[in-house]
Amino acid sequence: MLIQSKHLGLIEIDEEKIITFQEGIIGFSDIHRYILLGEEEENPFQWLQAVDEPNLTFVVVPSKMICPTYQPKLNQDVLEKLEIGNLERILYYSIVVLPEDISQMRANLQSPLVINLENNKAKQVVLNQPEYKVRHYILQEMGEAKNVSAD
């Protein structure tokens, strides 16, 4: 099907790849269908484009890119809602805020977008793990990671 996207204009998408957020994304509860765009090998950042709302798009990044040891604990409610049978088939994406001042760029690890690849059902989950925060400043954390590996 053809959709209008914010950054790539009119594009053809595969309907089977549409991701459904039954409850929407927090703050956007009435928008349910999204598609991931802009996958490139060297660039982990992608867009999550609303299928029915051309102007609504989020920059997202696999949460593991920000935190390689990322291990969210999903509760039973989430497992049931997304009909998760196999944890290996789950993707975690973090929404990125990308301000003009790039040093303030941050990703949300506390409430990842949990996507079940088996059925493309998804939900923005709020984790109860204090190590994962709403704002992880990406460049700072990557810098720190580099410093650690240089030592």
């Binding site: 950054h7 927090i26 956007f28 990125v96 805020v97 990308l98 003009e100 923005q124 709020v126 709403v134």
Partner: protein
Amino acid sequence: MLVLTRKLNQAIMIGDSIEITVLEVKGEQIKIGISAPKDISVYRKEIYLEIQEENKKAASLNNLDLLKTLKSKMS
């Protein structure tokens, strides 16, 4: 909404496994203890509002040029 009045150290049960206890009352602040199974998420309501605000910012700030700059910076 169900409204219950409780005194210090009194508790409320929700189902068989969630217990909410009033631990301390000090002026405007009330300390509440929650014991619940591990698979139940417990968080302050403000966190929702914070996430909502952050999501709205994310949706309004996702300039394509910035993303390109970032990409060149990282590679």
